[in-house]
């Protein structure tokens, strides 16, 4: 098992497209019947790579003509655009079209990418790598902070050759509770959870844990 320390792998930076490149993306998107409409004059288009895909990357459109600004993120191979709508299906669709290059090193970034774009009925799932750096830790009572520290189980990654899947033991925040669980990542990118155990309840984040740490990096 690889023990993963609380340091995150540096995320690739967003790269802003020039006007011509952005125009091409907007043209491609506008040709789809179900496409959201973006202002040509006031939309910024940016992209960044993903370590676990060879052909697909992230493409982010931000319309600055609205207040607040409106942003949608797509998975794209430069021809097809799959809108990330908060469900798992768009990611699984890209996984099918561009087989994942999962390794013990990038399976955690894949999970974090997945969780930062997919919500459950109780909201976002957040994988805690280091309890001392958990978002909003300061907003919890001393007793809750102590509870987080005491209950935290370090992240561990193993490859189950029999199932052909990665198994990640981790501490997660979901629906106001801290829990331990094994996250199973199949080779095709499908994710499931096993051995879920409640560690601590009444731990509510006041805002999205991804708002300032991950998504818009």
């Amino acid at each position: 098992m690889i023990a993963v320390e609380g340091v995150k792998m540096a995320q690739p930076q967003w790269i802003r497209m020039n006007r011509e490149q952005a125009g091409r993306v907007l043209n491609q998107l506008s040709s789809r019947d179900d496409a959201l409409v973006f202002s040509r004059d006031a939309t910024e288009v940016a992209w960044r790579s993903l370590a676990f895909f060879s052909n697909y990357r992230l493409c982010r459109l931000t319309n600055y003509a609205t207040m607040p600004t409106f942003t949608m993120t797509y998975l794209t191979d430069g021809t097809e655009y799959i809108a990330l709508d908060g469900t798992a299906n768009p990611i699984y669709t890209a996984d099918e079209k561009d087989p994942l290059l999962l390794t013990e090193e990038n399976v955690l970034p894949y999970i974090e990418f997945f969780f930062s774009h997919v919500q459950g009925s109780e909201g976002e799932v957040f994988l805690i790598r280091d309890p001392g750096k958990m978002p909003f830790l300061d907003s919890f009572t001393d007793a809750q902070q102590q509870g987080v520290m005491q209950n935290f189980k370090p992240v561990g990654v193993t490859f189950d050759a029999h199932r052909g899947a990665y198994r990640i033991e981790a501490t997660l925040h979901y629906g106001g509770v801290l829990m331990s669980a094994a996250i199973i990542v199949m080779k095709d990118g499908k994710i499931s959870f096993e051995d879920q155990h409640l560690l601590l309840s009444g731990i509510h984040f006041p805002d999205s844990p991804y708002g300032r740490n991950w998504i818009e990096g």
Partner: protein, 170 residues
């Protein structure tokens, strides 16, 4: 482990929702039961406003064009009918502002102008949906929608309290 926090529900599709056209028609019908909501429903009809529902990670209203509005939400974590109606009312009010010539300043306009105009537009929009929520809340037929609670969940608790005080309803 409470069933609601089973992580595998992340991967399940949400409860089946009605067709988009049904949701929009029903929302406009309910809005029409309130005097201020009726104005918005009339505006949609007279100005041929196109209303669309989009899959977005977070609940959002989006007005990319003065005749096109979107209400977006996450299909895994669908919003309540009451919230959908209030979100639709808010973005339609914004479309009404644009149609009346009250537009967001140009991107290169001074910050002060942005603050002044955008704040005024936002205040007007929030006041408008507070009014609609109260008008619908007062009707027994819509008590299950819990419009005032929904408004608070949307983060407008302070605005609602202020509105209720100003209207002598608190």
């Amino acid at each position: 482990m409470p069933a609601s926090t089973d992580l595998n529900d992340v991967l399940q599709p949400g409860q089946p929702l009605p067709a988009d056209s049904v949701m929009i028609a029903k929302a406009l019908e309910i809005l029409s039961a309130s005097p201020h909501g009726q104005q918005l429903a009339n505006f949609v009809e007279k100005k041929n406003i196109v209303i669309k529902i989009a899959g977005t990670p977070e609940p959002v209203g989006y007005l990319p064009d003065k005749k096109l509005v979107y209400v977006g939400f996450n299909r895994n974590n669908a919003i309540s009918p009451g919230r959908f109606i209030l979100m639709l009312a808010a973005i339609l009010r914004e479309a009404q502002q644009e149609a009346a010539g009250i537009k967001h300043p140009d991107l290169r306009a001074p910050l002060e102008e942005h603050k002044k105009v955008s704040m005024a537009k936002h205040e007007d929009k929030i006041w408008y949906i507070c009014t609609i929520a109260c008008e619908l809340h007062d009707q027994v037929a819509f008590s299950d929608y819990k419009f005032l609670d929904e408004l608070r969940k949307m983060g407008h608790s302070e605005a609602l309290d202020l509105y209720l005080r100003q209207e002598g309803k608190s």
